[in-house]
């Protein structure tokens, strides 16, 4: 445990105690420790998350409200986390959800999925199971045919991170 701690490159001035308080318990600290090993791949950061969102929606400002992002607050296994995205929309020819995008903060890549739908979908809702490399924020954005953008985000605490080691199979 201590060995993993000393490997962490936390900012100067962060004492071990402060670090321990910040990390949510020993399990989270262990996950962070594993993330700091030199063999682990580069992580997406909040900046790359924002850049990825910009790349999809441009300079539009997404609003909160109509989009619901359903994720468990605590995920035991980051290899498979159930996610449901739904948007309150009449789904008519004139007013429907054109696309739903999901992004993450700390996986190696910021993109999770992009769905294209239309009035034939009937209901703007989709479910999938995703991988989360670390405790992090997940952001969903929906684009409507009327040019509006809706967003919602969820914070997930992951106790067993995905992507860190090869499965024994």
């Amino acid at each position: 445990m201590d060995e993993a701690m000393t490997d962490l490159s936390h900012p100067p001035g962060t004492t071990r105690r402060v670090f321990l308080v910040r990390s949510t318990g020993a399990t989270a600290a262990l996950v962070l420790g594993a993330g700091a090993l030199p063999s682990s791949p580069a992580q997406a950061t909040p900046e790359t998350l924002e850049a990825a969102i910009k790349g999809v929606i441009g300079n539009a400002t997404p609003r909160q409200g109509k989009l619901t992002l359903d994720l468990p607050p605590l995920a035991e296994n980051g290899n498979s986390v159930s996610m449901t995205v739904s948007v309150d929309s009449p789904m008519t020819q004139a007013d429907h959800v054109k696309a739903i995008h999901v992004f993450n903060e700390k996986n190696p890549q910021p993109h999770v999925l992009s769905a294209t739908l239309g009035p034939r979908a009937g209901r703007a809702q989709l479910s999938a199971r995703i991988k989360l490399n670390d405790s992090q924020k997940v952001v969903a954005i929906a684009e409507t045919s009327t040019g509006e953008f809706w967003t919602a985000s969820a914070d997930v605490i992951v106790t067993l991170a995905a992507c860190v080691e090869d499965s024994p199979s």
Binding site: S39, P108, V112, A115, R123, L126
Partner: protein, 106 residues
Amino acid sequence: MSHALINVPKAVKRGQVFEIKTLISHRMETGFRAGTSGQLIPRDIIQRFTCTYNGVEVFDLKLSPAIAANPFISFFTVATESGTIALRWTGDNEFAVEETVPITVE
């Protein structure tokens, strides 16, 4: 090689919005993990999933390495007329699976 499970109601009423649930076996290797030799395991994922209803595309999904192994995808569509629903998964290493299911609209 790949097995897909598809759950679609057998019969639906015209205009009804119904859910299509799919599950396909695929390892969804991210390309970011090291194997036992320390070498990175090359990426092998499903990149795209599409659903067409009597030839009309109703749902299209781009997948990333952040989708869990054995991707489960569920979505909705409106019952318009009887016919077939075709589901298609394509991805790395020329992965391509297409499944069709009949749908009866009353």
